[in-house]
């Protein structure tokens, strides 16, 4: 049994201009102890997908799915009360801005022990002892004295360590890290990533690493899911994906990495992510895709199994009959000539 099973998940927000589809038909399976990287531009729906799994989609957002299960529990029919017993205990989440993610009016100790007392039923003394242990485990020096500190007295990196301690307090089966290093200094970024990976290995917990940093994914994830405009574009093992990307979008993202450039100008992807009003009828990436055809602009590709993973593209890069298919479908992209 997979730890997380999501089938055809959609999250919609009603806005004044109509329904905004933040997540569109996402399916995902995650095994116990697996590390999944979720990458994509801002607004690609990577955070919203995970917030839906946590049950944290704010009103008036609507969550729909054919299946949404965690550790065998159906999250679509679960009561709010039962769900709160899972949230923060078996599945925990840390966020992008550690300093604003901690409550400024309460001490680190209070916020840390609160989780332990709620889910583990510890008394104050026991929870404090455990909190000191946890702070030590996430690499905070002299943890005893930090219990009485307020978040504004700690650095961003320290606060993220506190957030991690809070998240792992009840030995979760799954930890979701939503861009955990984006707001931190580069030197601290590496430390936090190392910490997350070592904790994941020690406890054999599932880890979802949401990021827009391909480098982070390459270092940490076993499997990678590339999202664009609310849909999964490609989902394969990290090694395969980085060695031979199959989706033109993934390939373009990798080509835009400075460490992969061969001098000269950095490659970019022309155009912008489609908004509420200009959502294409066909493939969502087709307006920006170098290999778009009449066919891909009118018919939306389905997510299909491909090269050991899944891909949502009419013309996967590794397909031997690719050029013929593109030429047959009236090419309109910039690479049409070739």
């Amino acid at each position: 049994m997979a730890l997380v099973e999501i089938e055809n998940l959609s999250v919609e927000f009603p806005t004044q201009g109509g329904i905004m589809r933040a997540v569109d038909g996402v399916s995902l399976k995650l095994e116990e102890g697996e590390v999944l990287g979720v990458v994509g531009e801002s607004g690609s729906g990577k955070s919203v997908t995970m917030l839906a799994l946590m049950g944290l989609i704010p009103f008036p957002g609507r969550v729909r799915a054919d299946k949404l299960a965690f550790n065998g529990r159906d999250l679509l029919t679960i009561s709010d009360k039962d769900r709160r017993k899972l949230t923060g205990k078996d599945v925990a989440m840390i966020f992008q801005e550690p300093t604003t993610s901690l409550n400024p009016s309460f001490t680190v100790g209070f916020q840390l022990t609160e989780t332990l007392r709620l889910h583990e039923g510890m008394d104050r003394k026991a929870a404090e002892r455990r909190a000191v242990e946890l702070l030590g485990q996430v690499g905070i020096p002299s943890p005893e004295s930090r219990l009485s500190a307020y978040p504004h007295q700690l650095s961003g990196g320290m606060n993220q360590r506190v957030m991690i301690a809070m998240a792992i307090a009840c030995n979760p089966k799954l930890l979701i890290a939503d861009e955990p290093t984006t707001a931190l200094d580069v030197t601290i970024q590496a430390q936090i990533l190392d910490l997350l990976i070592s904790l994941q290995k020690e406890r054999n917990m599932g880890l979802v690493m949401i990021t827009h940093n391909m480098g982070v994914v390459a270092d940490t994830a076993q499997r990678v899911m590339v999202m664009y405009a609310g849909q999964i574009m490609e989902e394969r093992s990290a090694a395969d994906l980085f060695a031979s990307p199959q989706h033109p979008y993934t390939a373009a993202l990798l080509a835009a990495l400075p460490e992969r450039s061969e001098g000269g100008r950095l490659a970019t992807i022309p155009g912008v992510v489609p908004g509420l009003y200009d959502r294409p009828k066909g493939c969502l990436f087709s307006p920006r895709c170098a290999y778009a055809t009449e066919h891909s602009r009118t018919v939306r590709p389905a997510l299909k199994p491909w090269a050991g993973g899944h891909i949502r593209c009419h013309y996967p890069l590794g397909d031997p009959n690719r050029s013929a298919a593109i030429n047959h479908d009236h090419p309109v992209g910039t690479e049409a000539a070739s």
């Binding site: 966020f95 409550n103 400024p104 930090r146 809070m166």
Partner: protein
């Protein structure tokens, strides 16, 4: 960089700084109280004599006695010198020391003001919180509409309407005063609610409560409106913060998220507003006490204006000013207690 301990020295320094700021305000109040009443036409001695009039020789004699014949600047100098020695003078009407009269009447005002602010808090905080979590609901629009009306209503008019409705029409509450004339309660604390409980007359307590209802509502309406609106906007802001998402991600109950994690932060601006309302409350008390013939310092001051009782006005305004400043100081200290970020940067 361990947490610095809550420093008593820093606290002391803060209090001393604030107290030193009180001195210019104090001088300002004496100036205003002294000169404003003298700008009002009318001679205190003629008012004192009343309809019968007064013999010019005796008039001159009394002017000398009270020192009104001296240049006004000299009069102010003498007044200020006396105040600094703790002498606020005597009422020209009753010949009682101003301080004695004030301390006899002040508990009545405090009792009314405390009830009014409690009324405003007990209704205003929950109304603001619920309006925020049910944003754009009928409840939200209702609360905001009513509070706008409450804020805009003249206290005088509101008091008279309530008296007409509840006292005259339905005969539910007394029209005026603090307690039925049947009862005589020996002042122990000066707070009738407490003194009646200490005495053996439970009926007297209920009489005092019934007398308090309308004045409390009238005086509490403006603070209630302000607190409800402020609580709502502060809660709305706080509920969108990242740490609220964290609190939900911990699996805390909705109640705990709102009542602990959100409210604690939303209270910071609300406490500031309550502090600012204290001054407004005393202004309101003067009107409310006049409408309901409430025997407090507000009514005492209004009467003093009509009688041109200079020492009472000067002393009363000064004492009220000191009370407002002290309360604001206390609110500032409370602000530090609920906002750790302020506490540590001082």
């Amino acid at each position: 960089m361990a947490a610095p301990p809550f420093s008593v020295l820093a606290m002391l320094r803060f209090i001393l700084t604030r107290v030193s700021l009180i001195i210019p305000t104090f001088i300002g109040i004496t100036l205003l109280a002294f000169f404003l009443i003298r700008l009002v036409p009318g001679d205190p001695i003629e008012t004192l004599a009343g309809e019968r009039g007064i013999d010019p020789v005796r008039h001159e004699q009394l002017r000398k006695e009270y020192g009104f014949d001296k240049p006004i600047i000299v009069q102010y100098g003498i007044y200020l010198a006396r105040v600094l020695q703790g002498d606020l003078g005597k009422s020209m009407i009753t010949q009682e020391p101003v301080l004695n009269e004030f301390s006899a009447l002040f508990p009545a005002t405090i009792e009314l003001a405390l009830c009014a602010i409690l009324f405003a808090l007990i209704l205003g905080l929950p109304a603001g919180i619920i309006a925020a979590i049910r944003r754009n609901s009928i409840f939200d629009h209702g609360v905001m509409g009513i509070s706008l009306a409450g804020y805009s209503m003249p206290i005088f008019w509101w008091g008279l309407i309530l008296i007409l409705l509840f006292s005259v029409q339905f005969d539910l509450t007394p029209v005026s005063g603090r307690i039925d004339v049947l009862y005589y309660i020996e002042p122990i604390t000066g707070f009738l609610l407490i003194d009646t409980l200490l005495s053996d007359e439970p009926e007297a307590f209920w009489s005092a409560v019934r007398h308090l209802i309308l004045p409390t509502i009238v005086l509490g309406t403006v603070p209630l409106a302000v607190i409800a609106r402020m609580t709502r906007s502060a809660m709305l802001e706080v509920l969108g913060e990242d740490y609220i998402r964290t609190a939900k991600a911990k699996g805390l109950s909705r109640f705990r998220v709102v009542a602990l994690h959100a409210l604690r932060n939303a209270l910071i601006p609300v406490v500031t507003v309550i502090g600012l309302q204290i001054g407004v409350l005393f202004t309101g008390a003067i009107l409310t006490e006049t409408i309901f013939s409430w025997p407090g310092v507000g009514k005492w001051l209004i009467d003093a204006i009509f009688r041109r009782d200079y020492p009472v006005l000067q002393g009363g305004a000064l004492l009220l000013g000191v009370v407002v400043m002290s309360v604001n100081l206390l609110v500032d200290l409370a602000y530090g207690l609920i906002n750790p970020r302020i506490r540590h940067t001082r």
